[in-house]
């Protein structure tokens, strides 16, 4: 028996190509049925996310090639589309799956969403009867590896996007964000992403103010917040905890002189100002005021960058851990009499 993986991912193909290989959730069961019916395939799992589509299969045909497999599955495809496909076999398949489950192959190193996606892909395959002894064992081990890598290394440590860094900082200032009043000033793309991060982390009291009131109203409605007219935002300021600002104003809209009396009234309550605008919306002197913490785009990006560097350092420790599990899985495979036939282990994309 041989374990193979045919993979196309963000590492080998752009989104335009990847979307042609994607298997929609609604088509997953039909795809698994199709996979089970394919000649040479005795077990199979289909993993399809926005960044990768992968087929994990067990076959007796060690020479099973990508092109006939893909054509059997998808029908006729242009040759150029097949170029970014990668074929893993033997221990490389095992290693690849373990790395995918641990987030080492993700676009954002160490992200954890992929773990759930692998789990859902496996459960769907198992329920439809597409898996057997080998893939069951392989995926169970992959989940074990993913959990171990996350809990024993720092691969998931820190936030690596501006929005999530802003949320982390806010949580270190206020604790629970549920009771925090957050104003989004300027409904641009970056501030919208940041606002959604806050909303996703439990923030309930969101206010959106924008020069275009319709845009503010639409964004506020999508997050259960309230829109405020742009000429009225200052009247809400005294009661705020967090300001996410990204207006197109050519000068600072929040100044130390304006803020000082407001901060005095706030007493012990800190104020967190996230300035995502260029030129900056918040005067730099505001950061020197007691109880005010101003983080601009550079400051947030620097924190995200440092976290990413830390994750890269941890990737080596994670790889060592994975190697240990690959060896253990291979020895289980040999012991079970299902040892794969050695073959050319990997084919790289012909880009």
């Amino acid at each position: 028996m041989n374990i193979l993986c045919f993979s196309i991912s963000h590492q080998t193909a752009n989104v335009e190509v990847r979307e042609r290989f994607a298997v929609a959730d609604s088509a997953l069961l039909a795809s698994l049925a199709k996979l089970s019916e394919m000649r040479d395939v005795s077990e199979g799992v289909v993993l399809s996310t926005c960044n990768r589509t992968e087929f994990y299969i067990v076959t007796e045909n060690a020479q099973l090639a990508m092109e006939p497999f893909v054509r059997d599955f998808y029908g006729v495809m242009p040759v150029s589309d097949l170029a970014p496909l990668v074929r893993f076999s033997s221990s490389h398949t095992v290693r690849h799956l373990f790395r995918v489950a641990a987030g080492l192959e993700s676009m954002v190193l160490g992200e954890t969403e992929i773990f759930g996606q692998v789990k859902r892909a496996y459960e769907a395959a198992m329920r439809s009867g597409a898996t057997g002894k080998i893939l069951n064992k392989l995926f169970q081990r992959a989940f074990q590896v993913g959990k171990q890598v996350r809990s024993t290394t720092g691969i998931t440590r820190g936030s690596v996007s501006v929005g999530s860094v802003a949320v982390d900082l806010a949580q270190q200032i206020f604790g629970d964000l549920q009771g925090c009043k957050i104003m989004i000033l300027g409904a641009g793309e970056t501030s919208e992403k940041t606002a959604r991060c806050f909303h996703g982390c439990g923030a309930k009291q969101l206010f959106v103010s924008n020069r275009s009131f319709e845009r503010a109203a639409a964004l506020a409605a999508s997050m259960g917040g309230r829109a405020i007219r742009f000429d009225e935002w200052e009247s809400e300021f005294h009661d705020l905890d967090i300001l996410v600002s990204s207006t197109a104003a050519p000068h600072a809209v929040v100044t130390a002189a304006k803020l000082e009396p407001i901060l005095r009234m706030r007493r012990d309550r800190p104020l967190f100002l996230i300035d995502l605008a260029i030129p900056r919306d918040v005067e730099p002197e505001v950061h020197n005021l007691e109880g005010a913490y101003v983080y601009d785009l550079d400051a947030l990006q620097l924190i995200a960058q440092r976290a990413l560097e830390e994750r890269h350092k941890e990737a080596e420790a994670s790889a060592n851990l994975i190697e240990k599990h690959v060896r253990e899985f291979q020895s289980w495979l040999r012991g079970s009499g299902l040892s794969p036939i050695p073959s050319a282990v990997m084919e790289f994309p012909r880009l």
Partner: protein, 275 residues
């Protein structure tokens, strides 16, 4: 059953329990620091468990000593330090688990370690003469004053953590430790509540001191009033919002350092054994 336990406890010299507690607090502190520095996952239950165990050993020591002398075991400097450490850890166990402040344990443990090392190295002192009559007001006065010191010690710990967090936020270079410590708002609340708790207990302790029927030592009374005024002033500043959070935090540290470091402060409690 209790008698059997007491017999087991009595089989060993009671100072062994101080050593056992010291080891637990050292392990808890070492593990927390290792986790914070290396960024490895901190099993807060382990730190909490070690501190609980250390607290248990301190309790056994105080129980054994108290049973031996027939009164509250605050009769010499060594006992005083153990009692103060025990009070601080007790308040941590109650307060620390209420808020998201389990990591206060990492900062409480070293203070407990210092107190127990001092308790271990100073001469044990002779246990009190049990034939003398017990003065209940003196015991209430002493124990309340020491438990108040435990609350002030924790307020100092929360203050130190607040200053660390505030500094990290202001420099805009928060390290990994920053994200593992409690939020600055929770530290403000904890510091404030601990100051109030300590102040209330200290007030009761001072008031009952006048009911002991003993001669008043005005030097000691002056010291007590000075400490009371200092903490009272901090609380007034807190209530009236006359000072920024970082100054309140800094004053919590200064006041506790003064409390510990003042010779009269220690003598005030230590020289009034419950004899």
């Amino acid at each position: 059953m209790l008698a059997d336990l007491v017999n087991i406890v009595y089989q060993w010299p009671d100072r062994i329990w101080i050593e056992a507690g010291l080891i637990c607090f050292l392990l808890g502190f070492g593990y927390s620091i290792h986790s914070l520095v290396t960024g490895k996952h901190l099993t807060s239950r382990l730190t909490f468990g070690l501190i609980c165990l250390g607290f248990l050993f301190e309790t056994i020591f105080l129980f054994a000593r108290g049973h031996q002398i027939g009164r509250c075991p605050i009769t010499n400097f060594s006992e005083l330090l153990v009692f103060m450490s025990w009070s601080m850890v007790l308040i941590y166990l109650v307060i620390g688990s209420t808020y998201r402040l389990s990591l206060i344990g990492a900062f409480t443990a070293p203070v407990a370690v210092v107190m127990l090392i001092l308790a271990h190295v100073v001469p044990a002192g002779e246990p009190a003469h049990s034939q003398l009559a017990v003065n209940p007001w003196l015991e209430v006065h002493t124990s309340f004053s020491i438990v108040a010191c435990g609350a002030f010690a924790l307020a100092c710990v929360a203050g130190a953590m607040y200053l660390f967090q505030e500094r990290q936020l202001k420099t805009r270079h928060p390290g990994s430790i920053f994200f593992r410590l409690p939020p600055i708002s929770a530290l403000t609340v904890a510091n404030s509540r601990l100051l109030w708790l300590g102040f209330t207990l200290f007030t009761i302790g001072n008031a009952t001191g006048f009911l002991t029927g003993m001669d008043i030592d005005w030097k000691k009374v002056s010291w007590a009033i000075l400490v009371w005024c200092l903490y009272g002033g901090i609380l007034v500043a807190r209530v009236r919002h006359a000072m920024a959070g970082k100054w309140i935090a800094a004053l919590s540290i200064v006041a506790f350092s003064l409390l510990l470091g003042t010779f009269w402060g220690i003598r005030f409690i230590a020289e009034k054994p419950s004899l």
